[in-house]
Symmetry: C2
Subunit: 331 residues, 2 copies
DNA sequence: CTGAAAGCGCTTACAG
DNA sequence: CTGAAAGCGCTTACAG
C-alpha cells in the first residue's frame, strides 16, 4: 500500500525509469523491450503495489481525466440520476466525475466552475443557472470542452442536450383533454430559465388558443413549498379540474396540499407532472407524467464531451433535443 | 482564460518565481516582500487570469485536496442527500469530492477505491458493501484516512459513523404497538450487512419476546421490486395488521403492492419505514418513519476525516453512533 | 532493445 | 527583501 516511486521500482527491477514507464504503460512490445525484462518490471510493480502518481502524470500529460459536473442540487432525484448515469457510463473509461451543487445561485455556479477549472478538469458538464452566459462562453472559447444540459442559452453556440419542453407540456395538456379536463391549473417556477419559459409558453399558448381561463400560477424557487400550498389552494377554490405541475417537486408539494384539503385525485382534480419521480407510480392513483430520458441525456452529454475532446473538435451541430415521453398511469 | 504559468507571470511582473509564488500564496507579508512588488504581482495575476496548475501543486505538496466518496448508489435519495451535505459542508474549504457507486458489488467497490487511491485522494468516505474488510483495513493502516458510514465492520477499528439500527426498529415497533398493532410484518433485505442484521435482530428479538407470529421476510437486493411484491401479498394474506419496511425503497415498493391489492393504510394495514423519503409526507396517510440524521452523519464523517488528516491523528474512539429519530405522521 | 536527460509547473529550503 | 536551485514523480523525444 506504500507509495513506491517509478525510480525506486526501476531500481529494484534493475532498469531505467524510461524502460519501466514504457512497460507499465503497455508500450513494452511496441518498443521491443525484452519479454524477460517486461516480466521483471511487472512483477516488481505487483509486489510493491506500485501506483503511478496521478498528479505527476497529469502534469506531464496536461490532462486530468476528470470531468466537472455542475448541477443545481445533487440531492434532487433528476440530477442524482443523471450523475449516476454519467458515472456508470464512464465506469469503463479513465474518467472520473467531480461534482458540485449551485443551489440555483449563479455566484456559486461561477465559483464552482472556477474551482473545477483551477483543478484543470478536462471538460465541464453543467446544468446552468442561465445567468453566466458570457463567463461560460469565454471558457468554451478558450478551448475547454463544455456541455450544457437541462438548461441552455438559446442565443449561443454552447453545445447542449435538452428536452423538448414545449412538446412535453403539450403532451400533458392533450392527455388532460383526453380525460375531458378543461379547467387546467398550471403551477410553475419563477425562474429565468428557458426550459421553464418553454414549458410556460406551451401552457399559455394553449390557454389563449382555447380561450381557457387563466389558471397560470408561479412560485419562487427559494420558497416553493409554502407558496405552492397557497397557489394550489387558491386554484382549487377557483374550481380547476386538473393541475399540471412544472416539475416533480412542485407536484409532490401540490399533491400534499391537495389531499390535505380533502380533494380527491383524479375524480375531483386530476394531476400530472413534468418530470417523473420514484413515488409517482406508488401513489394511488399513479401520477401520469412526462418523463425525461435520463440515460439518454447522460449518454448524449458524454458524446458531446468526447467529440470536443477529440482532435477535430465538435462534429455535430452541438444541439441535441430529446423527446420527453408521456408515461400514462392512472391520472 | 488561457493558462499562463508561474514562470511567465513572474517574468511579466519582473520578479522571480519564488517571489511570485510567495505572494500568490498570501505569504508576501510574512516574507516581507515589498508592498509595491506584491501589488504588481497580484495585478499581473489578475490581468492574465492566472490559475496555478493544480496537478503541479499537488505533486509538490503531496496532497490533492480531494476526498473520495464511495456509496452503493448515488441515485438513492439517502446517499445523494449525504453527498449534498458533504459537498455543502466542504464548500468553504479547498476540498472537493470524487464519487462513485458500487451498486452493492464488492468488486466494483474495490476497483473504485483503487481508482481513487491511484488519484491520491487525501481521504476516503465509504458506505461499504461490507465484504472488503481486509482491503480497507490495509489502506487505513497504511496511513490513508478512512471513514465508514451507514455500514461498518463490527470487529474493526476503522473509524465509522452509524446510526443505532436496533433502536430505530424498536422505535418503529413501539409506535406500531401504541397503535394496537400486533401482527407486524417485516420486509427486509437479504444482505450481509450489520446495519441490516441489527434491524432484523431487533424485530426478531421482539418477535420472540412477545411470542408474536413469525412475519419476518426478506428479499434480494438485485430483484427487490418483484420479490417485494410477492412477499407483501403473502403477508397480507396471512392477515398482518402492520408492515414494517427495512428501507425507504422497500416501503415504496410495498405500498405500491398493498394499494394495488386494495388494502387500505392505515385502517387495514399500517405502514412504517426505516429511513425517510421525500414522498412519505405526501402520501395519504403520511408514513411514519425513523429518520436518519443525514446532515449530522455528513458532519461527523468530516469530523473524523479531518481528525485523521491532522498531525496527531484520530483523537476520539473513531466510533460515532447517532440516534435515529421517530417522525410520527399519520400511520 | 535500453538509458540519460529534459520538461511539465509548482513550492520551499537555502543564500545573501 | 529577493533569487537560484533542487525536487515532487512522471513521460517522451532523442541517442546509441
Amino acid at each position: 500500500m506504500q507509495n513506491i516511486s517509478l525510480e525506486e521500482l526501476a531500481g529494484k527491477a534493475k532498469v531505467s525509469k524510461t524502460t519501466a514507464s514504457l512497460v507499465l504503460n503497455g508500450k513494452g512490445d511496441r518498443y521491443k523491450i525484452n519479454k524477460d525484462t517486461q516480466q521483471r518490471i511487472l512483477r516488481v510493480a505487483a509486489e510493491y503495489n506500485y501506483r503511478p502518481n496521478f498528479s505527476a502524470r497529469s502534469l506531464t500529460k496536461g490532462r486530468t481525466m476528470t470531468i466537472g459536473l455542475v448541477v443545481p442540487n445533487i440531492a434532487d432525484s433528476f440530477y442524482s440520476n443523471i450523475a449516476f448515469q454519467l458515472e456508470q457510463q464512464l465506469a469503463n473509461t479513465e474518467y472520473q466525475l467531480l461534482m458540485g451543487s449551485t443551489r440555483e445561485n449563479s455566484e456559486r455556479e461561477e465559483a464552482l466552475i472556477n474551482t473545477f477549472l483551477n483543478r484543470q478538469v478536462d471538460a465541464l458538464i453543467v446544468a446552468t443557472t442561465q445567468k453566466k452566459q458570457a463567463y461560460i462562453e469565454r471558457i468554451y472559447n478558450s478551448g475547454i470542452p463544455v456541455v450544457l444540459f437541462d438548461r441552455h442559452y438559446p442565443n449561443s453556440l454552447l453545445p447542449h442536450v435538452i428536452v423538448d419542453n414545449y412538446r412535453g407540456i403539450n403532451k400533458l395538456i392533450y392527455h388532460l383533454q383526453s380525460k375531458s379536463r378543461t379547467n387546467i391549473g398550471y403551477i410553475g417556477l419563477e425562474l429565468q430559465l428557458d426550459a421553464i419559459k418553454e414549458r410556460q409558453l406551451a401552457y399559455n399558448d394553449w390557454m389563449k388558443a382555447t380561450s381557457s381561463p387563466d389558471f397560470f400560477r408561479t412560485v419562487h424557487y427559494e420558497n416553493y413549498q409554502a407558496e405552492c400550498e397557497g397557489v394550489v389552494s387558491q386554484l382549487l377554490q377557483n374550481g380547476v379540474d386538473a393541475l399540471l405541475f412544472e416539475t416533480h417537486y412542485l407536484a409532490l408539494e401540490g399533491i400534499k396540499c391537495m389531499t390535505s384539503k380533502g380533494f380527491h385525485c383524479p375524480d375531483d382534480v386530476n394531476v400530472v407532472s413534468f418530470g417523473d419521480h420514484q413515488a409517482f407510480s406508488v401513489f394511488t392513483p399513479g401520477i401520469t407524467v412526462v418523463h425525461q430520458p435520463v440515460a439518454r441525456i447522460a449518454e448524449n452529454c458524454l458524446k458531446l464531451v468526447f467529440e470536443q475532446l477529440k482532435e477535430g473538435g465538435l462534429q455535430s451541430s452541438g444541439e441535441i433535443i430529446l423527446e420527453p415521453k408521456l408515461v400514462i398511469r392512472n391520472t
